[in-house]
């Protein structure tokens, strides 16, 4: 403070002013921090409330009993979510099997093969797949896809009845149709994330492969895919997360049958669909509501685990890649 006496008046004035500005900055910092903290608090609160509301059903049947009991019987107030869990898994796996290869192929074509003029247009169109609302996919599924595909499904069921989970009478709404629509719905995210991952492969490495006399495809196998394997896996996991949680389109084409179907052309149910369908009919405060919320909790945990795995894969491969990049610079 002693030095302040020696400095000219104007300078100390400026200092005062900047101190006020400094206070404003401190206020800004803290208010931003409080916003961030309150977002976390709200999320925590939601999770706790969800758990509390689900508690009656979970303690009535036990957590494992609720998940693994193969009996969802609203009339008798028995709620075992196994048929829903199985339905969710079947439809998601069908979506993964059908959707992921297509999404990755599209991403590879757009980033590595498409003429540069076409690239952004193709990318835009792939992104637009995500712009179609779930309920519209459902509408299309119910009135176009189900009737149009039924003969083909029946033919497949008759011809390949020796395969597991295939054979017998095909029903209109079924696991396969739901999985097919989910596949369409996860293509944009899987392909967008894959494209992002592919774009991070350094140009030098691709040129390195080409300069060795690799064809385009050999370049992809040599320089592009090994680099992006982790990222693409995690893109597929993100797609799986989407498929598990997708509600409205599935609700419309799954058939709403709480009994596990024995082949993929049978009716079924999923966790999300059962909530969408039955929530409106259930009496507030009843065991039914609690069971539906518990189903939501199972759904939440499932998606969190799947997304967590996706994130873990990315972080791990980033860390490994980071160490390589550091060394290359040194």
């Amino acid at each position: 403070m002693v030095e302040v006496i020696n400095v000219p008046h104007t300078v100390s004035g400026a200092r005062l002013k900047s101190r006020r500005a400094l206070q404003a900055d401190v206020i800004l910092r803290w208010s931003l921090r409080v916003t961030a903290l309150s977002m976390l608090a709200v999320l925590g609160y939601f999770f706790v409330r969800l758990a509390i509301t689900a508690e009656p059903a979970l303690s009535h049947f036990g957590i494992l009993g609720f998940i693994f009991t193969n009996n969802w019987d609203v009339a008798h107030n028995i709620f075992g979510a196994w048929p829903l869990v199985v339905g969710t898994l079947i439809t998601s796996i069908v979506a993964l099997v059908l959707g992921v290869p297509v999404a990755i192929a599209a991403a590879l074509y757009v980033t590595e093969f498409a003429p540069s003029r076409l690239r952004s247009t193709l990318a835009l169109l792939l992104d637009l797949l995500a712009a179609v609302p779930s309920v519209v996919y459902g509408l299309w599924g119910v009135f176009i896809l189900i009737p149009d595909l039924k003969p083909a499904e029946q033919w497949f069921s008759n011809t390949f009845s020796f395969l597991p989970f295939v054979g017998g009478q095909v029903s209109g709404p079924n696991y396969f149709i739901a999985g097919l629509i989910l596949a369409i719905m996860i293509i944009p995210i899987v392909s967008a994330v894959s494209r992002e991952v592919l774009a991070t492969v350094p140009l030098q490495e691709k040129e390195g492969a080409l300069a060795l006399g690799a064809t385009r495809w050999e370049m992809i196998r040599l320089a592009v895919l090994p680099r992006s394997r982790a990222g693409i896996t995690s893109a597929a996991m993100l797609g799986l997360g989407r498929a598990i949680g997708e509600t409205i389109a599935v609700t419309l084409v799954i058939g709403s049958s709480p009994v596990i179907g024995h082949q993929i052309f049978n009716q079924g149910y999923t966790l999300a669909a059962v909530i969408a369908n039955e929530f409106g009919e259930a009496t507030p405060g009843s065991l039914h509501i609690s069971a539906l919320i518990a189903a939501g909790l199972v759904l939440l945990v499932l998606t969190l685990v799947v997304n967590g795995i996706a994130r873990g894969i990315i972080i791990r491969s980033d860390r490994r890649r980071g160490s390589i990049a550091d060394k290359a610079v040194a």
């Binding site: 540069s116 350094p202 030098q204 490495e205 040129e207 390195g208 492969a209 080409l210 300069a211 060795l212 006399g213 690799a214 064809t215 050999e218 040599l222 320089a223 090994p226 680099r227 890649r321 160490s323 390589i324 060394k327 290359a328 610079v329 040194a330």
Partner: protein, 267 residues
């Protein structure tokens, strides 16, 4: 598969002569921007020819035309002739993939495949070319010896290539290229990302390699050109200003701009 390897390739090796490269009226473009404006230049067999010039003069673009890497840049195109032992690689029906197998290239920044082991990096090219599995290791060892890297890596061939130092990575890239047994080596400022000690080792290596290959070396480092190049070509604004024996270009340049550049007046 190994029959696809041409006989002429082997006979030329037996004679101990690499292929000379002649560039004739070469124009190269990025979209509408002309980066190389009608260049004629010869790169004699089994000699080192340096291309010098200030940044942006088109020297990198020129070498990238010699193995047809230039066209991999979106929007890039080239016209004119590049004669590889009298075969025009820009004539119709020439497969750029085959050109690149005969004309190897080393880049500014070392670019080993980071997910592969050292040995897999070196054998990547021969594996693509269909070299038999039991020959691969021998080829890799020879290439690594030639690149002066064998003693440093022989105990960790299966370790990841990312663990090598920058200079070692660049020598690995050279080994990866000569494992393909090309005729011409293009080097696009191979030392610019390296420390002086690694630079020296690579220069020694290049001099050793010229007995078997035709070397085209792009460099912004004039003293590097005087140290190792037999011939030097000076480029400015996409045009070839002057080319000739290195000693003459630096001692008695005919062109005033060459003189100004080699004496450090600009660039």
């Amino acid at each position: 598969m190994s029959t696809s390897k041409t006989k002429s390739h082997q006979t030329s090796k037996a004679s101990g002569k690499g292929f000379g490269v002649k560039v004739r009226a070469l124009h190269a473009f990025y979209d509408d921007n002309e980066a190389v404006k009608g260049v004629d230049v010869d790169f004699p067999a089994n000699k080192i020819t340096a291309i010098i010039g200030p940044s942006g003069c088109g020297k990198s673009t020129l070498v990238r035309c010699i193995n047809r890497m230039h066209e991999e840049v979106p929007g890039a195109s080239a016209k004119g002739q590049v004669l590889l032992d009298d075969l025009d690689i820009y004539s119709l029906g020439i497969d750029p993939v085959a050109v690149r197998r005969t004309v190897g290239m080393v880049f500014q920044k070392p670019n080993p495949f980071p997910t592969m082991s050292i040995i897999d990096n070196v054998t990547a090219g021969p594996r693509l070319a269909g070299v038999k599995r039991d020959e691969l290791h021998e080829r890799a060892e020879r290439a690594l010896c030639d690149a002066g890297l064998w003693n440093e890596v022989k105990d960790r061939l299966n370790k990841n290539a990312g663990g090598l130092s920058g200079g070692q990575q660049q020598r690995l890239c050279i080994a990866r290229m000569i494992a393909l047994e090309p005729e011409v080596l293009l080097m696009d400022e191979p030392c610019s990302a390296l420390d002086p000690h690694s630079t020296l080792r690579i220069e020694e290596l290049i001099v050793k390699l010229k007995s078997r290959f035709t070397v085209v070396l792009v460099t912004h480092n004039l003293s590097q050109a005087t140290r190792i190049a037999d011939y030097t070509a000076f480029m400015l604004d996409g045009e070839l200003v002057e080319a000739g024996p290195t000693k003459r270009i630096f001692a008695t340049p005919k062109n005033i701009r060459t003189k100004e550049y080699v004496t450090g007046k600009f660039g």
